[in-house]
């Protein structure tokens, strides 16, 4: 079974082209992609995808930064295959979009090979990623959702007599239903596990990472006091202005939100100037990537269960970081989750960002300054006009529960286990 991969394309927009590119993106969706220009559903195994336009701006030193067209997606095939499908299945749309970008060849000279090579030049790697459940494919998510619909409908249709509530009888009836139906028989088998090759590779990565930390431990302990002193010095002197987002921005963002049960979040911000913050952020992002890969890889990001996919990508030679995620529920509940459950985790990363509420010892305060934190997020959000979700009416809780329903259909169960199983219905 494949594991999910990701693609990030960052292309500088030619001067003067932002407006027409913005208009093109606006025609492609109002928060949810409408399938015009690029039909994301046509690509194999895409979970989520988005196009955003980052306006031109100036960095903290006042140097100009070009506008950027950014594409981000999460999928079940290899990045190479996904990129190929982009140029094969959406060539015209890709040309229209990236035709606004620096270095994209003229339409007259474009061949499939040149198109692919041109796009590949814009591809950059993510510094850190989060996948809710590693190895869970779009196909599995969708077919298990369908299974659950069928099972629930079937149970509703059974005679509601005194025996209807009996778990063992219900399970047997559902198994019989699946066995007798060609389109459901797959559900009687357990889902395909992750490939042995992938699992070995991950294990090697885990062991290698731990060994590396152990080897470096004496050095790290040596550095620690110096680091902590520097950290506190920076934290005391870093400016932390509380800036409220302009109402027009909030309105624009709100118009794009809450169309499905999930929402996209995209935010971009400057890294605080200086080597110290850059070095800290480098290590932090490496550590995040390591822990999301090996620890928080099954439905739970340190207590937050609503995130499907997330990524951190560094831009402009570490001057900026972009954070993108796909989450269940409203932005207000997402932000409250952050503050109430993983403010420490947010602080570790984002307190290296310019304008973040003042943190202490890298983990304390910061995001717990509720309104300052919420305003910081809103202020740095980029409107995600073109956003695709392969299963926009399913939350992570639903998806996990559907998997439970399916998992309970095969093998022997004690009456006690079956009683547990019907709780998923």
């Amino acid at each position: 079974m494949p594991h999910q991969a990701a693609l990030t394309i960052v292309a500088p927009v030619r001067p003067g082209q932002s407006e027409s590119l913005g208009a093109l993106l606006a025609s492609m969706g109002d928060g949810v992609a409408n399938g015009s220009v690029v039909d994301f559903g046509a690509f194999t195994g895409v979970h989520f995808a988005r196009f955003i336009l980052v306006d031109e701006t100036r960095d903290l030193r006042g140097e100009p930064l070009q506008a950027l067209l950014i594409y981000m997606s999460d999928f079940d095939v290899s990045s190479r295959q996904h990129l190929s499908e982009l140029v094969e299945k959406a060539a015209a749309g890709i040309d229209r979009l990236f035709g606004h970008c620096e270095g994209y060849p003229d339409a007259a000279t474009l061949t499939p090979e040149i198109r692919l090579a041109s796009l590949r030049r814009y591809v950059i790697s993510e510094q850190a990623r989060y996948v809710n459940t590693i190895g869970r494919t779009v196909r599995q998510v969708r077919s298990e959702a369908e299974l659950r619909e069928r099972v629930e409908g079937f149970l509703d249709g059974r005679p509601q007599d005194d025996g209807a509530g009996d778990p063992v009888a219900a399970r047997a009836a559902v198994q019989k239903l699946a066995a007798g139906d060609e389109s459901l028989r797959w559900a009687l088998e357990p889902p395909e596990g992750l490939g042995i090759g992938f699992r070995l590779k991950e294990l090697a990565h885990l062991v290698g990472g731990i060994l590396l930390v152990l080897i470096l431990l004496p050095l790290l302990l040596l550095i620690a006091p110096v680091f902590l002193v520097l950290l506190r010095l920076h934290e005391r002197s870093d400016p932390a202005p509380h800036v409220r987002p302009p109402p027009e921005l909030v309105r624009e963002l709100a118009a794009l939100e809450d169309h499905l049960v999930q929402n996209p979040f995209t935010a971009i911000g400057f890294v605080k100037p200086g080597l110290f913050r850059r070095a800290t952020l480098t290590v932090v992002l490496m550590a995040i990537n390591f822990t999301t890969r090996h620890v928080f890889n099954h439905g739970n990001l340190a207590g937050v269960k609503t995130i499907h996919f997330a990524r951190w990508v560094v831009l402009d030679g570490w001057r900026r970081v972009i954070f993108a995620s796909n989450y269940d529920g409203s932005l207000e509940s997402y932000m409250d989750d952050f503050i109430d459950k993983i403010s420490w985790g947010l602080n570790i990363v984002f307190s290296n960002g310019y304008g973040f509420p003042r943190a202490r010892w890298l983990v304390f305060d910061g995001a717990t300054d509720e309104l300052a934190f919420k305003d910081f997020l809103r202020l740095h959000q980029v409107p995600t006009r073109v956003w695709y979700s392969a299963y926009g009416r399913l939350t992570n809780a639903n998806i996990a529960n559907n998997a439970r329903i399916r998992a309970g259909l095969h093998g022997d169960q004690t009456a006690e286990q079956t009683k547990k199983w019907v709780e998923a219905l």
């Binding site: 629930e152 149970l155 509703d156 509601q160 209807a164 509530g165 009996d166 778990p167 219900a170 409220r244 109402p247 909030v250 309105r251 709100a254 118009a255 939100e257 809450d258 169309h259 049960v261 207590g303 269960k305 269940d328 529920g329 409203s330 207000e332 509940s333 409250d336 503050i339 109430d340 459950k341 717990t368 300054d369 509720e370 309104l371 009416r393 939350t395 809780a397 639903n398 529960n401 009683k419 019907v422 709780e423 219905l425």
Partner: protein
Amino acid sequence: MNPELHDVQGLVARGYGTLPAARFLLMGLEDRPSARAWAGSLADAVSPGDERPQDRALNVAFSSTGLQRLGLAPEIIALFSHEFVEGMAAPDRGRILGDLDRDAPEQWDWGGPAQPVDAVLLLYAKGAQGLDALEAEQTRSLGTGARIVRKLETSDLQGSEPFGFRDGISQPFVEGLSKAGPPATTLRFGEFVLGYPNEYGRYTDGPVLDRAQDPGGLLGAAPDDSGRVDLGRNGTYLVFRQLSQDVGGFWRFLDQATRRADGSSDPDRRLRLAAKMVGRWPNGSPLALAPEAPNEDLAGANDFGYHVDARGVQCPVGAHIRRANPRDSLDPRPGSDRSLAINRRHRILRRGRKYGTPLGVDEALRGGGQAEADERGLHFICLNANIARQFEFVHSTWLNNPKFAGLYDDSDPLVSPSHPYGGTFTIQSEGVRKRVRDVPRFVSVRGGAYFFLPGIAAIRYLASLT
């Protein structure tokens, strides 16, 4: 910090339960100097929080258009919460509040884009006569500054709401206000009034001004020791929604859903399903404590949690009161102090009143007739310091959300829209769950607005604007 109850309007401290007659006057403000004079007269007339009124009470709140009409500078108005400034009828709020289709602001009787409301005058008295007298007095002082655009009458249903269930049982304990509760369920005063620490130990942002903007020196100090003054101090946000309840539709739906095999009504099952939807029996006893039958001794019981019934076998996960106040049932670790701490950040002070004549279950089941044609429902009023985190969160993340607590297609069966999603009600049990499908919406929105209920000094400040 001790609450300055003498400067807080009385509605924060009490719901005026001893004054059963109430009327809400929705106002439009006009000629600016007269409107300010009117506001000035109110500053002396409104009931403060430190006095228990004997036979009448009066409070006033302003919408953001009202503040505009009084001449408060746009840059000061912008300091209030975004939700308040934009208003309840703002585009895109409908998706958060579920105000879509027939509940869209365009369809409202008041508060929609065509009928904005600038202020609400809340009148309370012991009886009809006293109420009329209070209204007459207030009407005389209107002058050319304000006019009544709509009068909302209320009725005293003796503690029940129109569907027939005892109401208003669960109110948060608030530090500095009357009753002291257990620490785990007692909220900081700043959750309900600006200028005081909230549940995060912070001050909610508000209209903090330079001293120069308060030449009369009317306002109290800002809480941040900056030497500035605080127009928000002792004020709070008042959420007002007129919710019409289809009592006939409610009971007839339940009756149909619980018929016996021979097609006859089954009153016991009907009542049971109603209680499952609400989470309490009509007398108020909670299913969490009285799962099998109503219990008179538990009629006002409010000291319970849900984590012992994580599954929802006693009180369904999607029941109205379990969503409006999930208590200890949500992540992280249901039953823990952390779960309760998160719950404390999403509470509201309810101050609503019912309206319309009561309709008994038998009348409701018979259907038709003049009695049913009369509109009845709830003038929902709540107070909170942070509309987004309190009222809107409860409304959208807990009540309206079909995905609440791991559910799929279950929005609140009693009060939430069931279209296009959310019309399923799942009743968990020891064995296989039961589902009630295609639950229609029994409540519709007839009007609404976000108001600011200022401190009394702040009303004087608004009256003194030049």
